[in-house]
């Protein structure tokens, strides 16, 4: 008799741990034949709230980690992902991708991680400036992370779209709470496992699965979140997010196109969108 497989339970990833949703709810992911692929946690607002607490707690120490270290950690995530390539390709195929596009998506994801790892100790040089003011002052402007970012990931490109937003945000010193693709959530949780084994401190990346329509308003209104990134083109959601974010002047970033396999997204400007600019003056006369 052939051997029976141990099916995987997909849980949430919060604060470096894998808890189930506190609400106990679930939703199903089925394959093209209508068979069950997995029961996903249907995350609640309390899960989101807990994730924000973890993300906030981790943010300052993560931002103060040296750029060298952050780059090496992102490179490590790439190393781990490369090692589990087959699993990720299979998961994408399970969720309806062709073998060819699944392979391309996973390879591109790994390379994109390496791409952003390489920016960690360089983007400051690119975006910072020494400003020649008229008075006897040394004046310089440099970037600082905005803080805690909530991310509503794109529905398609369920792995690549995720990495294209997580990598630049965390290499820039931010911590994130991500709501995975609703229809294709498997890669997100497997990615959480990879991240968890890559020396990423707990709380830097938090991943939830669930319904966008249920969670987006909390993700946009939570006053202890500094920025929100929405991937999608639902005009109502975009408008709602804009209104809710106004409560604490949250920085809003919208990606409507979501053609994540485009090389256009390999750019330091994705990091810049997660940063604040600080200008400092110091006298130079004696």
């Amino acid at each position: 008799m052939s051997r029976l497989d141990i099916n995987k339970t997909y849980k949430l990833y919060i604060g470096g741990k894998f808890p189930r949703t506190e609400s106990g709810r679930y939703y199903t992911v089925k394959n093209s034949k209508g068979n069950l692929v997995a029961n996903m946690c249907l995350a609640s607002r309390k899960d989101f709230r807990n994730a924000v607490v973890s993300a906030r707690k981790a943010q300052v120490a993560w931002a103060n980690t040296s750029a060298l270290n952050k780059g090496q950690i992102l490179y490590r995530i790439a190393e781990m992902l490369e090692g589990r390539k087959e699993q990720f390709i299979n998961e994408l195929i399970l969720q309806g991708e062709s073998a060819k596009s699944a392979k391309l998506e996973v390879n591109t994801s790994i390379d994109r991680l390496v791409y952003f790892a390489g920016w960690s100790d360089k983007y400051q040089q690119f975006f910072s400036t020494v400003n020649t003011v008229s008075s006897l002052h040394f004046n310089f402007s440099n970037l600082e992370p905005v803080g805690v970012i909530s991310i509503l990931a794109s529905e398609n490109f369920s792995l690549l779209g995720l990495i294209s937003l997580i990598a630049p945000a965390i290499v820039g010193g931010n911590t994130v709470i991500v709501l995975a693709s609703e229809s294709k959530p498997l890669s997100a949780i497997s990615l959480a496992e990879v991240i968890n084994s890559s020396d990423v401190p707990s709380g830097v990346v938090n991943i939830l699965t669930g319904k966008k329509s249920e969670l987006f308003s909390q993700m946009a209104s939570h006053l202890d979140v500094n920025s929100i990134i929405y991937c999608g083109n639902d005009e109502n959601i975009i408008k709602s997010i804009g209104e809710l974010a106004s409560e604490n002047i949250k920085r809003t970033v919208f990606y409507e196109k979501n053609d994540w396999n485009n090389e256009f997204y390999e750019s330091p400007y994705l990091i810049e969108k997660t940063q604040e600019l600080k200008t400092t003056w110091h006298p130079t006369g004696i």
Partner: protein, 488 residues
């Protein structure tokens, strides 16, 4: 002869037992060939020279000597590999360089031990500074390989072609990293010559380059002495020379390539001014002096070898410095407690001893800490020359050893003038807790690297290089890419 009042009341009484780093896990061959076109090849003229351990002058291995014929073979291999290497997508080039960085990290301890065995520097320094910085340098530049357009906005950067790189003996592996990493990231192919006295870590790096799968011919390593270097400089198919070494040789190279299309960057000697103001954090400034001149036995081009101390705190600083020097341990480079290792070669030791003689002849007041120098090998005790002036030869010329000259100054403008009064311009240090003073001095000092309230700090992300006769071109940082590209 030390005066009675100088007797050290804070003498350390607890002597540390020997704490030797283990060496049984490292692998050194008895004989090393040249590394050309992805394989180890015998030198055409079949000549070899010895490389020794400077702490006992015993031979470690036989090293191949590359002659003009070998240089020609290597340059041809580099030229052949150039098209393929430079047309690889940047991201793939980057991956090879990331691999090299990771491999160095994996073999870090072996590299550290061999660096100390071959060069004389304390194992603590090769372990904690040289090797990690080298790995990080590859890591840093790997990330630039697919991002070059961002470093040169509005221009299309292209590699130069075949570059010849000649590196010194004071930071053998680190200098190899400083040269190879940016050159590779920008798509060039390379012929590298390590220094005559310190070939081993470059040869171990060749093993890593081989293991990383780097396409053959992209990096070629030729061992040899000055002759070999001259052959590389003069080879007609080399597009660029990168040299770190003495100003004298730098001038020679500069003349040799005049009129040719060859580009060059030169990182030469220095006579760094280390300036301590009365409002400095004195204790940290004293530590800064130690880091500036005794770190790596003073074999550092950017050493703070001229101390300028404000007269009002001069006595205090010197007293504290002497106390601190008493705790410096000179000894076996492989002992983890050694602070100051062996002088790299007999030749360098005699250069240093000659300068000490000159200093004494010039009437300078000498101070050396008490230490038991081993009988075999090349050793020099940490040395101070006090109450010197700009006109003393030992203040003007680079000694390249653990010898510090000490001058007093009274005003800011005086010290700026004296600090800049030298043909060199590599580094300077400023110690004061007053921020405006720092910025004022950093703007006025003529040096490529200025350390405020610190010294001898290096980072792959930080550009390094000199003004005036300390050379031109920068290594490290975004600016470190410039020397290896040309624009269409």
């Amino acid at each position: 002869m030390q005066k009675k009042e100088d007797k050290n009341i804070f003498k350390a009484s607890w002597k540390y037992s020997e704490a030797k780093e283990s060496t049984d896990h490292i692998q050194i061959q008895k004989k090393y060939e040249l590394y050309i076109d992805g394989k180890y090849t015998k030198p055409i003229k079949n000549q070899y020279f010895d490389t020794v351990n400077p702490s006992n002058n015993k031979k470690i291995a036989s090293i191949a000597e590359a002659t003009a014929e070998d240089v020609d073979v290597a340059v041809k291999a580099a030229r052949k590999a150039f098209n393929g290497w430079s047309s690889l997508p940047g991201k793939e080039r980057g991956k090879y360089i990331f691999r090299i960085a990771r491999l160095i990290q994996e073999r870090a301890r072996e590299f550290a031990v061999i660096e100390s065995l071959n060069g004389g520097k304390p194992i603590r320094e090769s372990r904690d500074i040289d090797i990690p910085l080298a790995a990080n340098h590859f890591f840093y530049y790997a990330g630039w390989a697919d991002k070059l357009e961002y470093a040169f906005p509005n221009r299309k950067p292209k590699p130069l072609g075949v570059v010849g790189q000649i590196i010194p003996w004071n930071f053998p592996l680190l200098m190899a990293a400083w040269k190879l990493a940016p050159a590779l990231a920008t798509g060039n192919t390379i012929v590298l010559k390590p220094a005559e006295t310190t070939p081993l870590t470059a040869l171990k790096l060749a093993e890593i380059i081989h293991d990383s799968g780097l396409p053959k011919g992209v990096v070629n390593i030729l061992t040899g002495a000055g002759e070999t270097g001259a052959c590389i400089v003069n080879h007609s198919d080399v597009d660029k020379i990168a040299f770190t070494g003495s100003t004298a040789v730098g001038k020679f190279i500069s003349k040799a390539i005049a009129g040719t299309k060859k580009k060059a960057t030169l990182e030469l000697g220095g006579k760094g001014a280390n300036i301590i103001f009365e409002d400095a954090a004195i204790d940290q400034a004293v530590e800064g002096i130690v880091n500036a001149i005794f770190f790596n036995q003073g074999h550092v081009c950017c050493a703070g070898s001229r101390l300028f101390v404000q007269e009002s705190v001069a006595d205090l600083v010197i007293k504290k410095l002497k106390n601190r020097m008493a705790t410096l341990i000179v000894g076996d480079p492989l002992d983890k407690n050694t602070d100051i290792g062996a002088i790299n070669s007999k030749k360098q030791l005699s250069t240093i001893e000659n300068y000490i003689k000159i200093g004494l002849n010039e009437g300078c007041e000498i101070y050396q800490s008490e230490c038991n120098l081993p009988k075999e090998g090349n050793w020099c005790a940490p040395t101070l020359f006090l109450n010197v002036s700009q006109s003393h030869r030992i203040v003007q010329e680079e000694i390249f050893g653990p010898v510090l000259t000490v001058q007093t100054f009274r005003t800011i403008s005086e010290v700026i003038e004296k600090a800049n009064n030298t043909p060199y311009g590599l580094s300077a240090g400023v110690w004061t807790q007053n921020g405006a003073k720092i910025f004022h001095l950093t703007q006025k000092l003529e040096a490529g690297v200025i350390w405020a309230n610190t010294f001898n700090k290096f980072d792959a992300a930080s550009p390094f290089g000199g003004y005036k006769e300390s050379g031109y071109g920068r290594e490290g940082g975004m600016q470190g890419l410039n020397p290896y590209i040309k624009f269409e």
